[in-house]
Structure formats: C-alpha cells, structure tokens
Amino acid sequence: MSLEVATKKERTKSNDYWVELDSRYRVQVRATRPIVLEKGKGVEVWDVEGKKYLDFESGQMAMVSGHSHPAVLNRIKEQIEMLMQNSVRVLNVPRILLAKKLAEIVPDPLEKSYFLSTGSESVEASLRLAKKYTGRFEVVALLGGYHGRTAGSQSYTSNSRGARPSTRPRLASSPASVMQRRSLTRQLPVSQQRYLSKLCKE
C-alpha cells in the first residue's frame, strides 16, 4: 500500500512514513538505517511495524540494566511527582545520595563528584578542573579515542586511523603565541610506550 492512500493510523505503523518525515525535518547525520524504534523491554526492542530486535548496542550504550527496567521506571515515576529541578543555589537529596553512592563504588582516593548531563560535558568539565588545579594547559590524548563532539571534547577525539575528523580549528584555550610553537592536543599511539615517555620529556 502506498503511503498516500494509507490511513493515518496505517501510516504511523510504517517505518517508511517516519523515515520520510525524518528526512524532511531533521539534519541528516547518523541514523542511516530505516528502522524506527517504538518500545523496548530488557534486551529486546520493537520498531513501529512490530518487528523485534535484540539490542546489542544497548540503546546508544546507555541501557546497562536493560530497557524499561521496572525498578528504574518506578523511581522515574516517583521523582517526576516529587521534584524535577532546582536552582544552582540550593541542594537536593538525590544528588547528595548519588555522590555518596559513587564514592562507595570507586576505589580510594576518588571521593568527590560533580554532575552534568552528557559525556562531552563531563570531558569538558574534567579538563577545566585539571587546568585549574595544575595551572597548566597542555593535554595528551590517546589515538583512536572518542570523547565527544563538542568544541573542546572533539579536540581530543580521533578516529581509528588517528585523524581527528572534527570541525577545525580545534580548541585553542591557550595564548596564541604558545599555540604557534606547540600543539595543544597530541596524539598517542597506544602501542608505543616509548613515545609517551619521549613526549612527556619534551
């Protein structure tokens, strides 16, 4: 049945219908497969046509406890009715308890947490923290590492061949005169231990 003659209900049960809408209204990056997911449970997910898949990518690597875990869903429902957000001037109980829990699961001397929303943000924040604490600015990043796609985090991201495919120029958080002489972000071949020593002696 063509999409034009299908009823609205029928259309919304079709991957093709949503793919067409997606191509019209979303910037076409990533998402290269015409699979439109609708729900998930544990390791399984279903598309809008009812086709079932085993999700071996865990969402985008986030669903360690599986999709729609009952205990997580319950806590989501409870907290939605309690409080969603507060201003930066005040505290909240779940944040204090989460920080305490994280301190319990990581080895000493790791102890204090700071919270954000995404991986890229956490990379940015960790670099700012390191710069502030050490008073230095140069960073050595691993070859083949992925740390995000924001302006700072992409400066430390590279593909498997070592190229940093990000939008150039990369981050320049140091005085330009220093940048001209030394590169801020250096790549480190994982296999070359000697290279690491050499790099740090410079």
Binding site: I76, F115, G145, S160, V190
Partner: protein, 215 residues
Amino acid sequence: MPPVEWVRHMRQICDEREMLLIIDESLTGLGRTGKWFAFEHFGISPDILTTSKALGQGVPAAAIITTEKIADGAVAKGYDQGATHMGDPFQCAVALANLEVIERENLLSRATKMGALLRNGLEELQERFDVIGDVRGKGLFLGIEIVESKESKKPAVERTAKLVVECEDRGLLLGGGVSIGGLGMNTIRLCPPLVITEEEISAALNIMENVLPMV
C-alpha cells in the same frame, strides 16, 4: 584492552611529572567490563574519572569523580562549573536507582559470565569464518574485527557494513560499520544490556552464524 604494563607505565609517568590522569569511562563504566569501572582491571586509579551514558540509564546524566585533594584544591583556586542540569533531583534519582539495580542484580558478575559465553561463541565463529580477524574486549564490552582474510588481515569495510545490515534485517541490532571515534570502519561492537540471558546470546550468535557465509 591495552596491556596492563602500558597503563601502569602511563600512570607512573603522570605521577613523575605531576600530570593529572583523566580516564573517560563513558562507554566502559558501570559494570560493562565486569567491574564498576574498567580501570580497576589495571590496578591503577585516575585523578579524574568521567562517567556518563550508562549512569542515567536513558536519562541524560554524567559525573566527574575526583579526589578530595583535587576537588578542594581547584575550588580554592577559584574553580567554578555550572550547567542548567548539574545534578537535577530527577537525573540523580534515576541514576541512583540504576546503580542499585546493578548492585542488587549482581550485574557486574553477570557481565563477566555472559561476556565469557558470548566471547566463546564469537571465537567459535572466528575459527569457522575467515572474515573474523579478531575477537576482543572484556566482559560484555566485546568487538569483532572483519578482515578480507585472516592471512591478509586487510580491513574489510564493505563486508562489515553488509554483516551489520544483514544481521539487522534478521533482528539483531549491532554497533559498527561506521567511523566514529575508536570504532573502526571494520569493527563491530557487541554490547548488549548486562541483563542478557543465555538464550538471547544463543539467538544472536545464530543470526551471525547464518549471515557470515553471505559476507
């Protein structure tokens, strides 16, 4: 996984030069490799640890974890960090519930056990099919590398893409066949939720077994 000695050497160099070691465990953290964090396999500890993705179990949540010395030292020097969602009660309540699930359901040991099962299956496929050049990873953070032949070790990008698409058509969603970060164009990632069952692992391996002769 890099060699243990290499990682320890990196830690040693950082110590000697008073460099801070930041480990980004966005992908590898929270049980995925069989431990809370992958750095624990190396017997070292970072100065700053980042965790995200799995922390919020679908709700955007990330954390940096550091030592008291660094945290208090940086703040004393005027460190400030702000964001609209910097530990909302909603984000944190969900993350906490998720950590409790990981603990209560012993998902760390489950990742080790199920990871070994999946890995064994993948290694059996590797023996039978010349295109699987390598099986690697830890716990349920596993990957296979697709090559033209074991002898040539030449990366087989088109075969990788075909394998991913054919598996998807048969109901197995995989990560790979695209160039993002460290995931090479000929590497496929196999990282199911840690709650996976033996039956689901068998089903996934069956799909791959049927598809592999076609690529």
